[in-house]
């Protein structure tokens, strides 16, 4: 099993705030890693550190065996990393198609405009935004903007996809659609790390789960192990019975 991403002892501070402390994990290619933890646990900071928005004070990060600790976001995008944002970042005055073309043109494959346009059409069809293709991205609603973020990331044909709360703010049927989409993406061979608050989704979809609390990595394991991990239950889930409930299908 080849390791796509290795995070080794990563520590990130903002002034006196210890945002991440000695986070360490390996991510084999083709897996989905769920990243959970209470608000402010450092999940998005970990994403920002992995994709080069921040640089850690300690530790190193390897992507496909290469040290990328000091790389910039655009270098990592070109190396095959793509992400969505918790707070959507659409390019408002560009059309939906143009938004997705940016991902295809400047991401891993560096396509020309013509090829990027056809990739955009294909990916937008996959995320179900075909009808909005010529609209300005600013005119989409939140659920559609989340799909647009996903489409932009996918258009790069990345090796690693970082999904930051793609389910937040969606209604139940939209959530089911999005979960199915995540599984379809994995079946295309793309490795995924997903931050998610919705326990049922993250427990069902993830191969492994990493739990952060106050920047500390308090547990890592299969969904089953995490649900029964005493420290996780105490720090995160609060109520031990809740874990059992979350594992059930409702």
């Amino acid at each position: 099993m080849t390791l796509l991403l290795q995070v080794q002892g990563v520590t990130k501070r903002f002034g006196g705030l210890q945002a991440l402390t000695q986070v360490t994990f390996d991510l084999p290619a083709g897996q989905i890693l769920g990243l959970i933890g209470p608000n402010g646990a450092g999940k998005t900071t970990l994403f920002n550190t992995i994709n080069g928005v921040y640089h850690p004070e300690e530790g190193r990060i390897l992507f496909q065996g290469k040290d990328i600790t000091q790389n910039k976001p655009y270098q990592l995008a070109q190396a095959g990393m793509a992400r969505t944002h918790q707070i959507v970042q659409p390019l408002n005055e560009l059309t939906v198609r143009e938004n997705v073309m940016v991902g295809a043109c400047f991401g891993r494959e560096k396509q020309n405009l013509l090829k990027a346009a056809s990739i955009a059409d294909e990916v937008l069809n996959f995320v179900g935004l075909s009808a909005k293709i010529d609209q300005l991205a600013g005119s989409l609603n939140v659920a559609q903007k989340k799909r647009l973020e996903m489409a932009r990331a996918l258009a790069a044909h990345p090796h690693l996809l970082l999904l930051d709360e793609v389910l937040a703010g969606l209604n139940l049927s939209e959530i089911d659609g999005m979960i199915q989409m995540v599984l379809d993406i994995r079946s295309q061979g793309i490795t995924i790390i997903m931050i998610e608050h919705l326990m049922k989704a993250v427990m069902n979809v993830s191969d492994r789960i990493l739990v952060l609390d106050y920047g500390m990595q308090i547990a890592e394991g299969t969904p089953q192990e995490i649900a029964n991990h005493p420290q996780v239950i105490e720090a995160y889930l609060g109520d031990p019975k809740l874990a059992a409930k979350l594992m059930e299908d409702d």
Partner: protein, 323 residues
């Protein structure tokens, strides 16, 4: 796809510039030719500024520095070293491009208002420097010897030649703007304009892209500067680096619609037309700059996208026709 459909965004801009260029040819009046020259100069300058302001989203308050600096370099070579008008223009354009490249490396990491402030500082610093730079004639500048125009068939013929060259430069600027707008490089610039951080996350090499946008927006102003001061017969620091001209360029771009190929052309035409009326009217002739200030305020408040941008927002059909 048919050829005209492929380049449909270029049709209206080309017609607009051609119309301005043909107007004095049809009337045959030298006065109209001079007005048309002024408008074509404004079209070329505003269109160039638009590459930075409209496509990349960086507001330059001191863009006229490239016009002045390129103009100085070209006129110096033309006057002191006997270069031809054309090679001087080329040198002026290249000099401005190099200046933009160096400035870009230094200040393009600044965002928003800080970048805008830095551009004002650069214009004023350059003016002060040239004022004290003896090679370029210090505060009195460089005056061309009258005999230079003999090479171009006399002064009257030189004015005519300058007009034709200005047509060429305006077309060149519009073509360059269109090529940037419709290229992959241009898509990266638009992404930077909309959200620089998101663009970088998607792989846009923003520091490089911004620097090249700055360089491309500086070359034609440098060439126009050489042409204008050649026609003018002399160049002085306060003519070469007028801050208010930078602001007038901003008004033109904002009025027509930043980020569109057609917008700056219409903006330059409308603004110069209005200015021509104001400076000749008794009431407005002393306060015409306050009118442009008020105009800028009104645009920013009510139609921030400018005329063409406003139309583009109306429908997908208009977006296809108006590039």
């Amino acid at each position: 796809m048919k050829l005209w459909q492929r380049y449909r965004g270029l049709i209206l801009p080309v017609i607009a510039v051609a119309a301005i260029a043909l107007w004095p040819v049809i009337t045959g009046k030298p006065a109209d030719r001079e007005s048309a020259f002024t408008i074509l100069k404004a079209v070329a300058l505003a269109t160039s500024l638009n590459i930075l302001l409209g496509y990349t989203g960086y507001v330059s308050f001191g863009h006229i520095v490239f016009y002045g600096f390129g103009g100085y370099v070209g006129i110096f070579l033309l006057s002191e070293h006997g270069w031809s008008l054309y090679s001087s223009m080329l040198a002026g354009g290249i000099a401005s491009g190099i200046l933009a490249f160096l400035l870009g490396k230094a200040i393009l990491h600044l965002r928003g208002g800080y970048f805008a402030l830095a551009t004002i500082g650069i214009n004023e610093a350059m003016k002060a420097f040239i004022n004290n730079f003896d090679l370029f004639g210090g505060s009195t500048g460089i005056t061309l010897h009258f005999s230079i125009y003999k090479l171009y068939g006399g002064a009257a013929q030189a004015l005519q030649t300058a007009f034709y060259v200005s047509i060429g430069l305006a077309f060149f600027a519009v073509l360059l703007s269109y090529m940037v707008r419709t290229s992959k490089f241009g898509l990266g610039l638009l992404a930077i304009r909309e959200n620089e951080d998101a663009a970088e996350v998607m792989g846009v090499f923003a520091p490089n892209a911004k620097t090249w946008a700055y360089v491309l927006s500086a070359i034609i102003p440098g060439m126009i500067g050489v042409l204008f001061f050649f026609k003018n017969g002399n160049v002085e620091p306060h003519d070469a680096f007028p801050l208010h001209a930078s602001i007038e360029l901003l008004v033109m771009v904002m009025l027509g619609g930043q980020g569109t190929v057609l917008g700056p052309i219409l903006g330059a035409f409308a603004y110069q037309g209005m200015r021509g009326y104001l400076v000749t009217s008794d009431f407005f002739k002393d306060i015409q700059l306050s009118v442009s200030g008020a105009l800028l305020l009104l645009i920013v408040l009510f139609i921030p996208a400018g005329a063409v941008g406003w139309l583009r927002q109306r429908s997908a059909l208009l977006r296809r026709i108006l590039a």
